[in-house]
Symmetry: C2
Subunit: 330 residues, 2 copies
């Protein structure tokens, strides 16, 4: 294993210190317990959005703390759920009279710990569980479907509504609507390597790919032989579109897992847009990049969200975070 590490036990703290310092205009990093808060003041009565999960998926979630997205994020150790005291402390820090909305990816540890945090705090609160990964039902750490890169779409759109003054019920309802209109699927060419383990999470042949992989390297639908970009993308888009149903305007997100060159992500985007349109969708909004990563895994995921005019508006609204910026442009 070759990684930029001093002591494996210190990587989260050291990385967060760097993150906080590099983005001191956007975020504040807190330790013991660990959480990241938005630096820019919020309007009194704004719903406070809090997410969190294991580290190793950066920029998710701390990279989406800022204007128009999250108020706070709670990073756990690599691929490990944060603890309830983190969410409770974050809620106390950012609650501003509008209640707290937890955005939780559907992993058993995350769900359980956010539920425990909810019992520890007294302010008005609600939760959204994201489960956009249509590759498999139930998985290594999950009952039901996994929450993956579609969570970025939920955080962006709900963040916009919260910024615009939507109340807790409206924000929760929007999050559920967006999650319900979103499907994702991933493919891995290589395994990720968790620093504390020091060896790849799974073995995979030089001519094999894992179709439907999870963002911690969990097994997908099947192990198949390497094939062309178009053929890989067609299989993923067909699975997504078939499960999602409907037609019309859509957001297409191509998410790199961490080790795939940007050039390849754009090539995948071109193929995915074409295939999605052959299924009756129109690609009306796009995002390409490393948004919900899996450490150093090579591969990518595709996410599709069905859009109506409201969702387009929330997607286009201003955001200013380390991982995603949107200016108020035409």
């Amino acid at each position: 294993m070759k990684k930029f590490v001093n002591d494996v036990d210190d990587i989260l703290k050291e990385a967060l210190d760097g993150f906080g310092r590099a983005h001191a205009d956007l975020v504040s990093v807190h330790h013991e317990p660990t959480f990241v808060t938005r630096r820019e003041p919020t309007r009194k009565g704004k719903v406070a959005l809090i997410s969190g999960g294991g580290s190793g998926h950066e920029p998710l979630h701390a990279g989406f703390v800022g204007l128009g997205m999250l108020d706070a994020a709670c990073p756990g150790a690599v691929f490990t759920s944060p603890t309830p005291d983190q969410m409770a402390a974050a809620a106390e820090a950012v609650e501003n009279g509008g209640g707290v909305l937890f955005i939780v990816k559907n992993y058993e540890g995350d769900v359980m710990n956010f539920e425990m945090a909810a019992e520890m705090i007294t302010c008005e609160q609600a939760s959204i569980i994201t489960n956009d990964d249509c590759a498999v039902e139930d998985s290594t750490y999950t009952t039901g479907r996994r929450g993956v890169a579609g969570t970025v779409v939920v955080e962006k759109m709900v963040g916009a509504l919260a910024e615009q003054g939507g109340d807790l019920g409206a924000c929760q309802a929007l999050g559920q609507k967006v999650n319900g209109a979103t499907r994702s699927m991933g493919v891995a060419f290589t395994s990720c390597t968790v620093p504390a383990a020091g060896t790849p999470t799974f073995a995979i042949g030089d001519d094999e790919i894992e179709m439907g992989v999870g963002i911690h390297g969990e097994p997908g639908r099947k192990r198949i032989k390497m094939k062309s970009a178009d053929a890989i993308v067609e299989e993923m888009i067909d699975a997504i579109a078939g499960d999602l149903g409907g037609s019309g305007d859509a957001l297409l997100l191509v998410n790199g897992f961490g080790a795939t060159p940007t050039m390849e992500l754009y090539l995948v985007y071109a193929a995915a847009a074409k295939r999605l349109e052959s299924k009756g969708f129109t690609v009306a909004r796009s995002l390409v990049g490393n948004l919900c990563t899996s450490l150093d895994m090579a591969g990518c995921s595709l996410t599709v969200t069905r859009l109506d005019d409201d969702l387009k508006g929330y997607w286009d609204a201003p955001a200013r975070t380390a991982g995603l910026s949107r200016t108020a442009m035409a």
Copy 2:
């Protein structure tokens, strides 16, 4: 080799088609010859900034086309110089009465082809050659020093001045000043793999790193045994600070080469900021991310630019590109 590829001969065209479509609000992609232009109209008399180079370094350069940075970029095949007809066509497309400024990384093919392009066009013109890599003098494709991630800093700052109305001479002088105040050095943990070659560019042991590597996998200063993040960063910052000289406010850029997790880049940033400050610098501006990549190489480079108030202003000025956005914030 596992990559998202259909036909190796088509990857640049397919990736650019995806890039152009995903960012249709920002750029237009032109083929035969290949170049990318800014979508947003420019003011009459604005200096047109044009860069280019081999592909595989994305977002450099096409990802920096847009308001506040480049007017056009000319992508060559992977790690291959673009041809003079590309630069000439780009110049013709974007020249708007203020002349053309070519920003060229110091590689023999790039320099020669931009010089040939300069002879093909009749408008007022000037060039900046970037050579910020202080790892080695002369290299596989270079006489003198290589131009690497510091080019992003040049493109950002000169782009701001051009947007603000600086004339061709002032833009060229600023580019030379920024380049002269900038030093970079890289380290590789793994090789990149050029798609057309299909095998890694260089071999490296499981316990070895290439200190001072170039962005095409060119040899650096030495092959050394893996060591701690702090020790690697200290060696790089000491080389950079020693060569750059001076003290005071600085920009610190931590650039991922393509396969290094974001979490590690922030850990490197924390170590680099600390070491740089021990050398008498104050980190006044920061950028962390994959800006000038080397396909799927693991590793990163550090870039330091000495700042004065003018340069801070150009760095902070608005930019709206696929690879770098800056809103007009406090």
